[in-house]
């Protein structure tokens, strides 16, 4: 008897849940677009910028599409059920916005051939998996130029996440640009094995300062390093978004990631049925990498030097990865006059001369 009553109880509860699951917000006619985010949308960095892109998509195509997003998705197997969940909820296009979702994206994409996936910063594609990335290293060249001009000690700190090409490129671009302004500049690199971990980011920033760095830039996602720099009266840059609100004095400028136009393009392609698996790598000239306004602390000659780099990327006349480029051991890796192509940059796994790293 108890069995029956328990069963009916579940039935009732089941009907209630299914009713709530099919909430009216998900109208039938709109195309669903899903996003998975690495951090919280309030990280004021990487994830925040991707969420801005999502919001741009909604304001542009909100009458035809709706978005579903999930925050704090770890770059491990737990991403798989989240992705599956989005596909099962009927998403036609899903953006996976961090490098570590690569294999999970391909795995779930194989299960849902009718759903299109877009993996940010990865290099594995399939018929229904495209990749997209930004040429952040162009922005890093601007930051490096300012850093080279403004550092008094010539010892620059670089707080990194993982030693993957995306990060290595940024370090090299920053170091080469700084050395153009100050040939003796060295860059000390620390990798913290995480993209978003404010306490760890803050601690690593302190370490870099203790190693003699008077300017620290980051390839991690929170404003925590800037807050430390603010306390110490030193300088740094925002990552992913303008972070000046967190460190009004320390924040010189920032690389802003503008994802909106790409998200709008790809969602339009879904609506028009023209989506294909592509590999997109846009930069400053496409408006995907934007440099925030310089703060008052940026000296006039630093600003002028930075503007030259910026203009060079806008008209295509400048590329920081132009030889001669030497690696950490002093071996010439790129001959004078040669320019590294995007294909070479995408697999770059060595640091340039003047970079000091544990690994």
């Amino acid at each position: 008897m108890t069995m029956i009553s328990r069963r009916t109880l579940f039935k009732g509860a089941g009907a209630a849940t299914l009713a709530t699951l099919a909430s009216p917000a998900f109208a039938e006619d709109k195309v669903k677009v899903g996003f998975i985010f690495l951090g919280p949308i309030g990280d004021y960095g990487w994830t925040w910028a991707h969420n801005k892109g999502r919001e741009a998509l909604v304001s542009e195509l909100g009458d035809k599409i709706e978005t579903i997003y999930v925050e704090n998705v770890a770059e491990d197997a737990s991403a798989i059920p989240v992705l599956r969940d989005l596909a099962q909820q009927g998403c036609k296009l899903i953006f996976t916005t961090s490098f570590g979702y690569m294999d999970q994206t391909l795995e779930v994409a194989a299960e849902f051939p009718d759903v299109k996936f877009e993996h940010c910063t990865g290099y594995k594609r399939a018929d229904n998996v495209a990749t997209y990335n930004s040429r952040f290293h162009e922005g890093r060249a601007v930051l490096g130029t300012i850093a080279g001009k403004m550092s008094k000690t010539g010892v620059l700190g670089y707080l990194g996440s993982f030693k993957i090409p995306e990060v290595v490129l940024g370090v090299n671009s920053f170091a080469l640009s700084a050395q153009k302004q100050n040939p003796a500049a060295i860059v000390k690199v620390l990798m913290i094995d995480s993209w978003f971990d404010p306490p760890k980011e803050a601690a690593a920033t302190e370490t870099l300062i203790n190693l003699g760095c008077d300017l620290v830039t980051t390839h991690t996602d929170s404003p925590a390093p800037l807050q430390i720099l603010e306390q110490k009266g030193l300088f740094g840059f925002g990552q992913g978004a303008d972070m000046s609100a967190f460190a009004p004095n320390a924040h010189l400028t920032a690389i802003e990631d503008i994802w909106g136009p790409y998200y709008i393009d790809r969602a339009k392609a879904i609506l028009e049925g023209t989506w294909t698996s592509t590999d997109t790598w846009d930069g400053m000239v496409d408006g995907e990498v934007v440099i925030s306004p310089y703060s008052a602390a940026v000296t006039a000659d630093a600003a002028a030097a930075a503007d030259i780099v910026k203009a060079g990327y806008m008209d295509g006349s400048f590329n920081i990865f132009t030889g001669p480029i030497y690696d950490q051991d002093g071996v010439e890796r790129v001959k004078a006059g040669e320019v590294m192509g995007l294909g070479d940059l995408a697999v770059m796994d060595w640091f340039v001369k003047g970079v000091e790293s544990a690994a």
Binding site: F10, L21, D85, Q89, K163
Partner: protein, 358 residues
């Protein structure tokens, strides 16, 4: 009128069974109230976390895959807890087990097949057991508290993991991301067609019977229970409590290692820094919610797996962070530990004859 706690002569069976259920229900109730207070639809959040994974059939496989390691680890832990041996480091034994399994897989390269997979799982069991043997040795030799030593070894295991996946075992084609190369298909566990349910899930369903037979019917099980209830009695009975400490810690570690090997060979197929997912810690909740009974562990493992899967569902539906599930899990443990008092004591309301002057 005053309330008095009166010690029961025998622990109450009724309370032993009803308090875990009450703990879950009370957690749900408090969840609804707290979420409503902070402006989130509490009812929907709690329904999503505790019921939706059971009602939506495509989530059953996720529940099964998450429940398997919890059940397997909790079985080992509850045996130790019965003997008053407190292994808090199952998470580390789980990681080391998976690493040993990965080491065997890497050593065989692309060679797979039944025996290689069997060897990988055996390596996981051995690795987890050996990692737990360290606290056993420290406890029996130097009387070092195993709660501390096993917990601290967990953090050591994370460092070992970080070193191996970021160094010698790093995938040469992985562009430097700290992770091992994915296993060859022939090195993975068989899965139920068109699902993610692997062979380890079936074993997680069988193991509670094995543990029940050991605990209830074997001399070893009797010894564990006697040592747990009183070391003096155990000594009079001729039981060696040191041997019990060694055995229960190693079995607990071996089970955690088995779970880690299954997770690696059956689900993830590669090791990365995200591998320690907290199963080893959550299994402690499973063991207590299951009242250290093998079948209780089975049911409690499913309940906790539901909260994991439900937590993920609530992320998309009500936009609450995934860590909410962790808060619910902790609340359940809190209530089950607090309600223990009802098992051993009864509450009496006593009408005071005089004014309550102290």
């Amino acid at each position: 009128m005053r309330i008095k706690l009166e010690k029961r002569r025998e622990p109450s069976m009724a309370m032993l069974v009803t308090t875990p259920i009450a703990s879950v229900l009370l957690t749900m109730l408090i969840g609804i109230v707290v979420f409503d207070l902070i402006g989130i639809d509490g009812f929907k959040a709690v329904v999503d976390i505790f019921l939706s994974p059971l009602l939506v059939s495509y989530k059953w496989q996720d529940v099964a895959v998450k429940a398997a390691p919890l059940i397997i680890i909790a079985l080992g832990l509850s045996m130790g807890n019965r003997a008053q041996v407190w292994n808090i480091g199952a998470e580390g034994q789980y990681v080391i087990g998976a690493l040993c399994s990965a080491g065997v897989g890497i050593a065989f390269g692309q060679t797979g097949g039944f025996f290689v997979v069997l060897l990988m799982i055996a390596a996981g069991v051995a690795g987890g057991g050996l990692w737990a043997a360290v606290p056993a040795w420290l406890r029996t030799k130097f009387n070092v508290n195993e709660i501390l030593s096993s917990l601290m070894l967990t953090y050591v295991s994370f460092q070992v993991l970080g070193y191996l996946v970021g160094g010698p075992w790093k995938d040469p084609n992985g562009r430097n991301f700290p992770a091992t190369a994915p296993l060859a298909d022939s090195q993975t566990l068989p899965v139920w067609p068109d699902s993610t349910v692997h062979l380890g899930v079936l074993i997680a369903l069988i193991l509670p019977f094995v543990f029940w037979v050991i605990m209830a019917r074997s001399e070893f099980g009797y010894q564990v229970r006697v040592v747990g209830s009183s070391t003096t009695a155990a000594r009079h009975g001729g039981f060696d409590s040191k041997r019990t400490i060694w055995a229960t810690l190693i079995i607990g570690g071996a089970m955690a290692g088995l779970a880690g090997a299954f997770e690696f060979v059956g689900v993830l197929h590669k090791m990365d820094l995200g591998f320690p997912s907290g199963y080893g810690f959550t299994a402690i909740i499973v063991a207590f919610l299951g009242r250290l009974n093998p079948f209780g562990c089975l049911i409690a493992g499913i309940v906790l797996a539901v909260t994991y899967v439900g937590g993920q569902m609530a992320q998309t539906s009500v936009h609450i962070p995934n860590s909410t599930a962790g808060i619910f899990q902790a609340m359940m443990l809190f209530f089950i530990l607090a309600s223990d008092i009802l098992v051993r004591y009864r509450i009496r309301l006593i009408a005071s004859t005089k004014a309550a002057g102290v």
